[in-house]
Structures are given as C-alpha cells and as structure tokens.
Symmetry: C2
Subunit: 329 residues, 2 copies
C-alpha cells in the first residue's frame, strides 16, 4: 500500500513534469522578488502622490491606474489643464520586462521613463526642480529618503529610482495560462487552448512571445497592409532617425490585455475582437473569421494575472512651507 502510494506519487510527478509546457514560446511570469522593501514603499507613495504634478491633481496612478490594469482605459490620456495626450498610455504592469519604455522605446528603463511625464507640460506639467523642492519641504518624506538612500539630499534621480523600484514589483504572476504552462491542464478550457493554438499557428506569437507576451521588440504597425490612423505618431524613427523605423512601435505586452483596453498606440481598437481582427489583417495578412477571433480572444483573457495587492498608501501631509499647487494658472 505504502509502496503503491509512493509509486503513484512519483508517476504523477513524472507525468506532470513531462507535460509541463517548457518548450512553449510564452513563459510564466516569475513573482517579483522585493530586495529593497523600504525603497518600494517610498516609490509607492511617490507613484500615488499628485503633488508630483503642477496641479496637485495628477499622479503616476492617474494614467497608470493600478485599480484598472495599470492603465487609464482611455484612447489617449488627460494631462494638465485637460490636455489631450498624443498616444495611448501603456500599462505599467510587467513593464519592467520591456526592452525599453514608451511606445517608441526612447527611455532605456523604468527609471528613465519616470521623469518624463512629471516634466511634460501636457502630462503632469511640473519640473524636476519643483518636485524636489516640494518633497524637501515635507518632513516625513525627508525622513523616508534619508532611511532609503542614507542622505536627506533629495534629487530627481532618487525620486525616479524609488518609483522604478516600486514599478518593478508590479508583475502579475499566476494567470490561468501560466498555471497551464506549469502543468495544470485544467487551468484553461479546451476552447481557450484552441485559441492559443491558433494564436501560435497564425503567427501572432512571432512578436508576442516571452514571459511578457510581447514587449521585447519593435515592429512596424502595418507590416502587410498600411495601418490607417489619424494619429501622427511615427514611432521608433523619432528615436533612431532612421526612415526604416517609421511606424515601428514597441510590441505591447498582452499580459492582462483584458484590462488594458482600448488597444494600439492610438487607442483605436475598443475591444479585443477589434484588436485581433485588425492585427490579423495588417500584420499577418489574415482575415480571421468571427469564430477564430473569438477563440483567440478567449485565450488572451487567460493572460490576466494577480493584480496589485497592497494597501492604499497614505501620503505624508505638506508642511506650512510646502509650495501649494497651482492648477488654474
């Protein structure tokens, strides 16, 4: 009885291990390892603090809303004075896995990215110097920067370092698809699996692969057929200056794609069905049937992982000397 039980266990392990989908083009997400918890906590506060904007109203979380898949679910974002943003806000979830940041990859990493929106007149509309002045006027922030960086001299480099360290924790493991990849055959349905097969067989996986199901290359939007849009963004060319890079954008991650509508750099696709149909046509020269599209969409919805799981941060109050925001100037 005992031996039979051990044999059964070993057999089950072998089957499970043999089956685990290790040779798939998509890999499971590894949970974040937090090595600097105090820096993460500081970064979290900064991420949620609207005093990093001129108006005192817009925080990183306004457009990368962690209650909504790390995005704002708008075609393009709303910035200072209700400025209409030029491009769809990418999700911050799993963004640490990207080869570079922004649609055109102009920032090498999350730290380089974080300073951008703060100083962009159409986004947070502030300056790095004023952010530092604001933070230095708040005793509780001074204490926290000192604890984290060993000095109370705050500068924008420390601010963006802390924000990036927090953002690195925003990974979403344990999607049903990841469970399937790890050997749990029942984690996705036969229909969803058929969608995955079609996703691979149709060529989607050529760009959307790796643990982030994308995020690791720049590709031309409209490879087979020109992509029609009123959005003037020209993508990667703006960074490299090369004509060959016109309309090349970073391939977005499909992780949590169910939550990050609308889709594409111009936010033109409102639904996953629209996005899949358009991608099939302009990138692969395929006309997916409604049934095929539905299958792929069903697969894509298995990519939703564990969402951010932490307490709402409580921000330290301004002091009497903290400059007050000027939203209406």
């Amino acid at each position: 009885m005992k031996i039979r039980s051990i044999t059964a266990t070993l057999l089950a392990l072998c089957i499970s291990s043999a089956w685990a989908a290790t040779d798939e083009p998509i890999q499971p997400i590894t949970p974040a390892k937090i090595t600097k918890p105090a820096m993460v906590e500081l970064g979290k506060k900064l991420f949620f603090d609207p005093r990093l904007s001129k108006s005192g109203f817009i925080s990183c979380n306004s457009c990368h809303n962690l209650s909504m898949g790390g995005s704002d679910n708008l075609k393009t974002s709303i910035g200072d004075h209700w400025h209409q943003g030029p491009i769809n806000a990418p999700t911050v979830l799993n963004s640490s896995m990207s080869l570079a940041q922004f649609w055109d990859g102009r920032a090498a990493d999350l730290k380089a990215q974080a300073g951008g929106p703060i100083a962009n007149p159409g986004e947070m509309g502030f300056t790095h110097a004023l952010v530092v002045e604001m933070l230095e006027s708040i005793p509780a922030y001074q204490v926290e920067f000192k604890q984290v960086f060993g000095t109370d001299k705050i500068d924008i480099d420390k601010v963006t370092t802390a924000i990036a360290e927090f953002e690195k924790t925003l990974v979403t493991p344990n999607a049903r698809f990841d469970k399937w990849l790890k050997g749990d055959k029942k984690a996705i349905t036969t229909y969803e699996l058929a969608g995955y097969k079609l996703f691979k067989d149709s060529g989607c996986v050529a760009c959307h692969n790796g643990p982030d199901v994308g995020g690791n290359s720049f590709q031309k939007m409209g490879l087979v057929e020109a992509y029609k849009t009123t959005n003037p963004a020209e993508g990667r060319m703006g960074v490299t200056g090369k004509d060959a890079d016109r309309f090349k954008f970073k391939v977005p991650s499909l992780r949590n794609v169910e939550l990050t509508y609308p889709y594409f750099h111009d936010g033109a696709a409102n639904t996953l069905s629209e996005a899949v149909t358009t991608m099939g046509r302009v990138q692969l020269g395929k006309q997916f049937t409604p049934e095929e599209t539905a299958k792929i969409v069903a697969f894509l919805k298995t990519l939703t992982g564990d969402q951010p799981n932490f307490k709402l941060p409580i921000l330290p109050p301004s002091s009497d000397t903290t400059p007050r925001p000027t939203p209406f100037n």
Copy 2:
C-alpha cells in the same frame, strides 16, 4: 504580595477611570461597525471607479482622496474639462457624523450627497442614467449588485446606497487626543494640552465640539468681523431662502485637520496657523498671539486618527458593450 498586587490594580483602574475625560466637550470616535461588508466592498469599488464620470478620469476618490485625508488639498477642486470648482472639497473622513452634507447642508445624508457630483457638469459631468447603463454593461458589477441587493436591476439609488455604506466606514479613531480622552495622560504633551485648554477657554469649542469636533451646526462665517473673500458662496441661505442664513456654513470637522489643508469654504487659509488666526479674529473677536496660535495648532494636530486601512480596490473591466468615456467631447 498577591493582595497588594490586586489592590494596586484596582487602584490603577479607579484612577484611570476617575481620570478619563468623560465630561469634555469633545468625545472619542467610535470605530466603524461594518454590518454589510459586501455592500461596503461594492461601494469602495464605486468610490474608486472613474467610469462614474463622463471622462472616465474622475472618481469620488479624485477629490476625496483617501491617501490625503479624504480631500484633494486644493483651494477648490478640478472637475470635468478642468472646470474650477466653486468651493473647497470637504473631507469624506468622518463625514457620516455630520448633521448634513455639503458646506450648505443641502444633502441630508451621504447617500443624498453621493449622487450630486456624478451629475454636476463641473465635477464628474455625467448623468445618473449613463452611470447605470455603464454599470449594467459590466458582468462583474451585475453579479456584485445582485449579491448585495438581491436583484440585478441596478439603479442610482443602489449606487449611492453602496457608496454611502462605504463612506460610513471612513472614520478615524485612535487619534492621540482620543487616547488622552480615554485616560492615557501621556498620549499628548503638556504643550498640546495647553493648546486644548486655550481652544476651550477661547470659545473655539462652542462650535467645534462632539466626536467630530464640528460638523453638527451651521454657523455664520464672520460672526464678529465680516469675512473677506472673493468666493461668492452664500452658504445655507441657498437652501433655506432665509436672509439670516447668508454666509452660514456647516462647521467643518477638525478631525485630521492637519491633513485637510487648505481651510475654509473658500480654501483661502493655506496653513493651520492662518486658519486659527483668522477664526480667532472673525468668529471670536480675538487676536491670538503667535504663541497662542502655535499651541492651538499643536493641539489640532493631535486630532489625526487612523487613516483608511484597506487594499487598493481592483475594478472589474468594461465589457465590449460598455460605452467608452468621452473626455474630449
């Protein structure tokens, strides 16, 4: 030894009990008793959901930011299309204790209040009908309304009922001053206690009393000396039509007042010192010395209680049929 120990304990209890400040004009806050947890969870999601606004960008939490004392720390709020609000956003913390809602008390309770900003063109800019249509298009919300209300027919009454139920949990017990009231003599310093004594002796406590340290009466702003402001709000008169109610406003709670700057209905006082000085002059005919003001401010800072302590809510995604927000129309 045993008897001595029991005697000492009894004695300590008697002293503690005898000392507990039961006859003070301010009473400790009672922690919220959550009797409808599912409704609170639904209300929390709705409170954080920017899809309750036309733009998809502004939630209840935008102006009653629970990371910042339940306020936006702006003179007046930013609304749809960057509309400049007419009056300072009061904190939502402990608002269930108020005799009525809004500065002029035009809403009887939190439920009546919650519907206001949603449909105000200068705030969330939406309509109740469109909010209901949006919510009904989201399967996870449908399920949750059904679980909470026993029917999947969503209406604005249920929406505001749930939001109010969540808001009722936003009380902030365990302020240092409350600990002092309950008998912990060391919970506040001698200096802070002197500030409290001055607060009482000067007459501040005539209006700022009860567990909410305010919130339980309407009083004229500028009782002794006319209050100068460019803000056209006339307060309670707009509700009652009585000339005697001109410039009467709900006395704000002083709970967490350290966090809810700037002060007054017009947000004109940037600091607690300014607020105390002005109040002394226009309400009490007193010219507080800087030392007196500092003492009262020190006391006021002992009124900061436990801040909201819950996980960031994760919102259910829109479905393909959910109408998309139109921030730029």
